[in-house]
């Protein structure tokens, strides 16, 4: 018979290669492997940091040493050997770039392969990009235009040098170093990241965007992002992630902190496409990220994420709804294939009155992967008239994959209104047949159906990101029905 059998499809899927698996040959300045006080001091010295930051790092390191790696997530993996990782790797440069023309051509090539050619982005989309390769931010664009509005958008290292007061005030205020194992590790060894400050009443006129990429072998990436939206301001922040294909597992333990002051709004969108490992489950990124936002009164934070990569993902972008009438939103598509494992979700902590949260989670499992939604909705005593709506849908592409939902609800206020909906479905052969009978190829049909399934989440993404996300979904799931 014409067409694929299920087994053929499953095989086809295994052969999908990781599109972004190339290594850029740039001379790197890497510190010796291992983790001890000396290494932390070395990183701090290399980055010419003030004393308070070194102290912060050392304190975090002391705390981390006492902690154990969390095991409650529904994931299984060989724990990283933290002494076998090089904690600092910077593209070797003696001086900062004077202009875009000075940027290493090979690095430009890398960006081109990632599909984010800086020239093009500048010209076509008006997106300001802060590109982080390994640990050092190499180029920041549109700085002048943003500067006129008083918007600060720079690498974390620059912020430490040029805006130490802001960094000192807000760093660790939402995700303290004691928060969890990986947050403590990050606080001790983070090398760079992005910093963003939007002044009072300013509506940032462009999407701010950062691309992260892990390049050097055997390194971990520990970046920190801090976004502060002052009263009545608005910012939309995009984060994209890729990594080259390598046999060993690489660790990525980031911390993202968002602060939305009174009446401010932050929209934070992520498309994560780290290398997921090969079809046997070898290699791939361990993505252990702590993301959290603090909402003051009438403030709003929206997390939107499309997660298609990484061997193991452990990530719960959360909102602390501290101020009255504040709003938290979480829109997520998580795709797992082959042997990928994802344990992702959100925490909505309602502290203020009339706080509102929305959770829309769409999990798609293919191959032999395991995909878990884990979420906490916590309504505290003083949170009168808090409201939450959660919807968790799971779509299964094969008989060998797994979808799990772990919703936790803690309610301490009787005026709260909490709704939870969950569905699990297998991609319909009837749907596929229907599409194909209309002349649509199987791959396009899957892409149509999956994109339709994720529509509520994709609609939250800015236009150019949504297009990229749709393509990623198609690539991740090509021929994955079985």
């Amino acid at each position: 018979m014409a067409g694929y059998t299920e087994n053929e499809l499953a095989k086809d899927l295994e052969n999908q290669e990781y599109k972004f698996g190339f290594v850029t040959d740039i001379e790197a300045d890497t510190v010796p492997i291992g983790l001890n006080e000396g290494i932390i001091r070395l990183i701090s010295t290399k980055k010419n940091e003030p004393d308070w930051l070194l102290e912060y790092r050392l304190k975090a390191f002391a705390i981390w040493k006492e902690m154990t790696e969390p095991e409650w997530a529904h994931v299984h993996y060989q724990k990283p050997d933290f002494q076998a990782i090089a904690y600092y790797s910077a593209p070797k440069q003696t001086k900062k770039y004077e202009s875009w023309d000075d940027v290493d051509p090979e690095m430009k090539e890398t960006m081109k392969k990632l599909g984010i050619s800086m020239e093009e982005q500048q010209r076509l989309t008006g997106v300001a990009v802060d590109f982080v390769m390994d640990s050092v931010s190499v180029a920041t664009s549109f700085k002048e235009k943003l500067g006129e509005l008083g918007v600060i958008f720079c690498s974390f290292s620059d912020a430490v040098q040029n805006h130490p007061d802001l960094v000192k005030k807000y760093m660790g205020s939402v995700v303290p170093m004691t928060d969890n194992f990986y947050a403590a590790l990050n606080a001790a060894v983070f090398t760079d990241g992005s910093f963003c400050y939007i002044p009072k009443g300013v509506r940032c006129p462009m999407e701010l965007s950062t691309y992260f990429r892990i390049n050097a072998g055997g390194t971990g990436q520990f970046e920190r992002t801090l976004v502060v939206a002052d009263e009545g301001s608005y910012v939309s922040y995009l984060e994209g992630c890729t990594a080259p294909q390598r046999d060993e597992n690489q660790l990525h333990a980031a911390v993202v902190e968002l602060i939305a002051m009174d009446h401010a709004e932050i929209k934070y969108s992520t498309v994560q496409n780290w290398y997921p490992g090969d079809k046997e489950g070898k290699g791939g990124i361990f993505n252990f990220v702590t993301k959290r936002g603090m909402c003051e009164s009438h403030a709003k934070i929206s997390w939107t994420q499309v997660e298609t990569g990484s061997a193991v993902t452990w990530k719960y972008p959360s909102c602390i709804l501290k101020g009255d009438y504040s709003i938290g939103e979480f829109y997520s598509v998580a795709v797992t294939n082959n042997y990928q494992q994802a344990d992702t979700g959100t925490k909505m902590i309602h502290l203020g009155k009339h706080t509102k949260s929305t959770i829309i989670s769409k999990g798609i499992s293919a191959g032999k992967s395991q995909n878990s939604y884990r979420g906490l909705v916590q309504i505290n005593k003083a949170a009168h008239h808090a409201r939450n709506f959660s919807q968790c849908d799971s779509l299964l592409m094969t008989d060998e994959c797994g979808a799990h939902t772990f919703p936790y609800i803690e309610c301490k206020n009787p005026t709260a209104k909490i709704e939870h909906e969950a569905t699990t479905s297998k991609i319909g052969e009837d749907q596929l047949f229907y599409c194909m009978q209309r002349g649509i190829s199987e791959e396009k049909a899957i892409s149509l159906i999956v994109n339709g399934y994720c529509k509520e989440v994709l609609n939250q993404l800015p236009m150019e990101f949504a297009v990229e996300a749709q393509k990623l979904l198609a690539i991740s799931l090509e021929g994955s029905v079985g």
Partner: protein
């Protein structure tokens, strides 16, 4: 248009079609009637290329091509359309997006350029009027939340958009009230030309009051056992299928 010879097909090892012969020429409408379990829907599924069915013998010539050699989507692209008995819902995918994707896939197969947005929307307006389909339905998700009648009208709307050579209507009349039935039938009649052909699979005669067939075939136990004109349908309505069963089984 299509010539089916000695078609045998089975599902899960059970033979359903047992040597079916049928020839439909361009410009003709053929009705296939028969009791439950005779193999009517199996015939529709086999023509469309559903994988669950295995063709064990026979041949199908579709306008000069060996239909059985083609994939499901290529059969559609060659101009075979199946109006489903139970159209499926595809949440989040708009009817318009769905049809434009389908139309462009067919065009690409034929080496034609993609349809422009303007041209496409003009076509949607024109064709949705044929089945009196509310233009709002065109922008809603495929069949999601549609009533039974709307789903069937949507099938005919899609048929109008894709302009197939051969349309197979699988129990399109089931679940329709008399108004919807008239609208659907009117759509089919409007789309009829001497370039295309239609196979109407139905359980009841009443659809044939509106869609006048050139030939009526009785499908029983996997074979066409009797062929006549529209009068045969009336006779079946009146006498049921038992007399045919008896004469065959005897």
């Amino acid at each position: 248009m299509i010539k089916i010879e000695n078609l045998h097909a089975s599902i899960d090892g059970k033979e359903i079609l047992k040597g079916l012969n049928l020839e439909v020429k361009a410009g003709e409408i053929h009705a296939i009637m028969g009791p439950n379990g005779a193999g009517k829907s199996t015939l529709a599924s086999v023509l469309a290329g559903r994988e669950d069915y295995e063709v064990t013998a026979g041949s199908i010539d579709f306008d000069g091509t060996d239909l059985l050699e083609l994939s499901t989507e290529d059969r559609a692209r060659e101009g075979l359309f199946l109006a489903f008995q139970y159209p499926v819902e595809i949440p989040g995918v708009s009817n318009i997006n769905f049809l434009r994707t389908a139309l462009n896939e067919i065009r690409e197969y034929k080496g034609q350029a993609q349809i422009s947005a303007k041209e496409f929307m003009a076509m949607v307006r024109e064709k949705s009027a044929i089945v009196e389909l509310d233009s709002k339905l065109a922008s809603r998700a495929v069949n999601e939340g549609f009533s039974g009648g709307e789903k069937k009208r949507n099938e005919i709307f899609q048929m109008a958009m894709l302009e197939p050579k051969l349309a197979v209507l699988d129990e399109t009349d089931s679940g329709l009230d008399i108004d919807a039935l008239r609208i659907v039938a009117n759509g089919v009649n409007t789309l009829k030309s001497d370039q295309n052909a239609t196979i109407v699979i139905t359980h009841y005669q009443r659809l044939l009051d509106y869609i006048i067939p050139d030939f009526v075939h009785v499908l029983y136990d996997g074979r066409i056992v009797m062929t006549g004109t529209k009068e045969l349908a009336l006779e079946l309505e009146e006498k049921g299928y038992d007399w045919i069963k008896e004469s065959i089984d005897a």
